[in-house]
């Protein structure tokens, strides 16, 4: 069967068009892939911006918290001690040496107490720097401060050893979460005992804080959109890829479990 020139021409034209579809689709694929890469880079940059902003906010909150504590301590504690010292020295009667001796001893003791409190305050100021030295040190410093008030018995344990390189940013966020939780316990829980466990795992860090306080209804708090502190804790943990589990019931205390993946 002889094929005419027209038929051959049609076949050739069709075949050429079909073959030219290959480079056309290749180019289309390249355009689409390039656009996706661009979107991915932009999303990554935005996420980094959000993370950096959150980090700065965390650092500022830690500083604010520290300043607040220092302010309260200066006013309530050291201020009182120094006022008492001043009163004691003002009431000295020079013609009564024995009573003068007693009052001077009392004034010296009050002064030494003030110096001790000032040193503690100094350590607290140093607290932010402790995060850079290690999360363990920073949390221990917070624990010491809480125990000093005498209101709480704090049991702090560290399990395991860090097998990965420290990430100061994640340490800072975890430290801030710890501070937030402890603040909540002090303000709302009416607890007597606080159990803090810091565990170093192969894949990350696990922090567990249990108190024997009044507890609360977790679902109710979330429904009524109260508990900004809790929301903040969850948000901060999510930013560094972590998870937060909160277990609490009225009258039965609270257990907060946080896992942050490292590195």
């Amino acid at each position: 069967m002889q094929i005419s020139t027209t038929e051959i021409s049609t076949i050739v034209i069709l075949a050429t068009l079909i073959f030219l579809l290959a480079p056309t689709f290749l180019l289309l694929y390249i355009f689409v892939y390039n656009r996706r890469k661009k979107r991915h880079i932009e999303e990554k940059a935005q996420m980094k911006m959000i993370f950096d902003a959150e980090l700065i906010k965390t650092q500022m909150e830690i500083q604010e918290q520290t300043m607040q504590t220092i302010g309260v301590e200066l006013h309530d504690n050291i201020g009182q001690l120094l006022s008492l010292t001043s009163l004691t020295l003002n009431s000295i009667e020079l013609d009564n040496p024995e009573k003068t001796r007693q009052k001077l001893d009392a004034a010296i003791e009050l002064n030494l107490k003030s110096i001790k409190e000032m040193r503690q305050l100094g350590k607290l100021l140093h607290g932010e720097q402790l995060v850079k030295l290690g999360l363990d040190e920073a949390i221990r410093s917070e624990v010491n401060w809480i125990e000093k008030s005498g209101r709480f018995a704090v049991i702090y344990a560290v399990e395991g050893e860090r097998s990965f390189t420290a990430n100061t940013d994640k340490d800072l966020i975890l430290f801030r979460i710890t501070q937030e939780i402890l603040n909540n316990i002090i303000k709302h829980s009416q607890a007597k005992e606080i159990n803090i466990k810091l565990g170093y795992l192969d894949t990350g860090i696990r922090l567990q804080i249990i108190d024997d306080g009044a507890g609360f209804n977790v679902a109710e708090l979330q429904e009524e959109q109260k508990g900004m502190g809790l929301k903040n804790i969850q948000k901060r943990a999510e930013i560094v890829g972590g998870e937060v589990f909160i277990q609490s019931q009225l009258g039965e205390g609270t257990c907060i479990d946080i896992f942050i993946p490292y590195p």
Partner: protein, 216 residues
């Protein structure tokens, strides 16, 4: 006038003019060399046409054999320049030249200088298409993204891919049909491919010019 200029040659002449306008002050010597190459193409094509239509010579294939040398040199140099952004060294340049030299010489030995080296043309077309695929592969592999609409090498490579890919198909089909009378289909297809090539190349030259202006 018809003895010298055909649609193809007019398109090539326009391509040369655009190349000259946008590339004559370019800092990159390889891109600038495109102006010279396109001038050689216009001269060769119009001379070839004049020889047949004007003075009625029997054979103008030797002109196209000479053009093949200029084409290979220019394209391999450009590919080496473009691919250097991803792969350092002159591998693509030397590989292209070695491949061309071997096939060209074999064909010259087989049938002399006055018959067109069509096998060499086909082999080099395959080589250019391969270089195009390498370029796209390196482009996709990169972490960053590019503004493809303004990327001069991208459009230059696109033009080459469409023209030489289509050229391979034509060579495969028309080796069977070239002896058929009144069979002008190949000429029409090549014409369409040349238009696509020069549109892409002209846009590439404009993008190169814009890139130079932004860098100043």
């Amino acid at each position: 006038m018809n003895k010298v200029f055909s649609t193809n040659i007019i398109v090539e002449l326009l391509g040369f003019v655009i190349a000259f306008v946008f590339l004559h002050k370019d800092n990159d010597k390889v891109w600038k060399s495109q102006v010279l190459y396109l001038l050689i193409v216009v001269i060769a094509e119009s001379s070839g046409r004049y020889m047949i239509k004007g003075v009625h010579y029997k054979n103008n294939s030797w002109i196209y054999n000479l053009l093949l040398i200029a084409e290979t040199f220019s394209l391999t140099l450009m590919f080496n320049n473009i691919l250097n952004a991803f792969y350092k060294g002159k591998l693509f340049f030397y590989l292209g030249l070695i491949l061309f030299t071997i096939v060209y010489l074999l064909e010259l030995i087989a049938h002399g200088f006055y018959i067109y080296n069509s096998n060499c043309d086909t082999v080099m077309s395959v080589y250019y298409c391969t270089c195009c695929f390498f370029y796209y592969y390196f482009l996709l592999k990169e972490d960053g993204f590019h503004q493809l609409y303004h990327l001069a090498p991208f459009w230059w490579v696109n033009g080459v891919l469409f023209f030489y890919f289509g050229n391979i198909i034509c060579d495969l089909f028309f080796s069977k049909f070239s002896k058929m009378p009144d069979f002008y289909l190949r000429y029409n297809i090549i014409q369409a491919l040349i238009i696509i090539l020069y549109i892409c190349w002209s846009y590439a030259f404009i993008c190169k010019y814009q890139q130079r202006k932004l860098a100043q």
